[in-house]
Symmetry: C2
Subunit: 234 residues, 2 copies
């Protein structure tokens, strides 16, 4: 489903180069639930940008459903993302001047498949899934950190994408609410075959996935189904 081959990402800052990814190869298959773990600064969010076609590699190739992403224009990448990828950002990236409901509706407007009434109904249902239905008309600044995170999760699911990329989706949630979110993800994986990649610092979250990829210094250190081996290696 997603195939990275020798992906390198170098950020140029003046005359300093930051090697965020140093030749990473990995394959994600449809229906998998994978966690991506590793120290702060090891390249996880950068890896997620590659997996989610948000950014182009400096070198190497990213295949999504057989399509070479690095060869597409920005518009073509945006169209593919909108249909195929739900992204929960590490810093949420909600629009501050639109309500929770409108934030969730936004990806649906791009694809233009639903009427305004259908969009609204779907957005309300998604907010209910993350226990925020009564907050639909609140703006992000009127929501707690964990509530904003849940709006971001609802928005990622708006277009019913086949792939969900979640960058630390439970970082601002207490263990009960975080547990509810993970149960939701697992349910969507079972019922719809949703492919899920979760960046996490939480060992409990990592243990609840079937495969763990451990990163360090822009490389994949370990790729395993043995959660304890992965956790020891972080």
């Amino acid at each position: 489903l997603i195939d990275l081959k020798n992906v390198t990402k170098v950020y140029q800052l003046g005359d300093v180069e930051v090697h965020a990814l140093r030749g990473v190869s990995l394959q994600i298959h449809a229906g998998e639930i994978v966690s991506l773990v590793g120290p702060s600064g090891s390249g996880k969010s950068t890896m997620m940008n590659m997996l989610g076609c948000l950014d182009r590699p400096t070198a190497g190739s990213c295949l999504l459903d057989g399509v070479a992403i690095e060869k597409l224009s920005a518009d073509e990448r945006a169209a593919i993302r909108n249909r195929k990828i739900g992204f929960v950002f590490q810093s949420f990236n909600l629009l501050s001047r639109t309500s929770a409901l409108e934030n969730v509706e936004l990806p649906m407007m791009y694809s233009q498949k639903l009427t305004a009434k259908q969009r609204r109904k779907r957005a309300e249902d998604l907010l209910e899934l993350v226990d925020l239905k009564d907050r639909h008309d609140h703006f992000p600044s009127q929501l707690s950190g964990g509530q904003q995170q849940r709006v971001a999760i609802a928005r990622a699911l708006a277009n019913d994408p086949p792939i969900l990329l979640a960058d630390e989706p439970t970082g601002n949630l207490d263990s009960k609410t975080g547990g509810d979110v993970l149960r939701l993800f697992h349910r969507l994986n079972r019922e719809k075959g949703l492919t899920i990649i979760i960046v996490t610092h939480d060992h409990h979250v990592a243990r609840a996935t079937r495969r763990q990829i451990v990163m360090r210094d822009g490389q994949v250190l370990i790729d395993t189904t043995d959660a304890e081996e992965a956790i020891r290696a972080i």
Copy 2:
């Protein structure tokens, strides 16, 4: 040191009222390390705003070092905060157009006690404390989530305040880096008597503090030194 008496905070949203704090009373003594835990939306960040004089209560009183904060003007509160309180925000609140170093220097410029050279040196030392010295000239968008969080921590310590309020300071950090931050906090508490209040969803962090305050629905549910009792109650 900090004394909240019957503090209430109501947010008015159109004709809906959100009761974020419903009559909270608590005392924090100099030299304490306290964790504040509870479900998403239970009022922890709002409580931190009260403790840190960032906001006025709707009713009740906040005494900081015997001074009634709710009676002060916004300027007077800002002056007290700058001297006495270091705040690590849940969403970091770094200035996006200034470098990591300048973000850390900012609180020092307000108090005008140091020369430019002294400020720069202190900011570099603080960034080194959080393992980011080589990133001093990077902008927040050029840093990982956990690196931004560490810049926010360094900035909170800039004026060597007697009180540190940290709203989920390890949420974006792997367990090793998070552990380093907590060890730093404990060391400052031992060596300088720094009073620390940490909002956290992480049970390990809560166990490492001497007192746990559990919130639910805008009220204090439990105030204890028995970490396990607190964790069961979340």
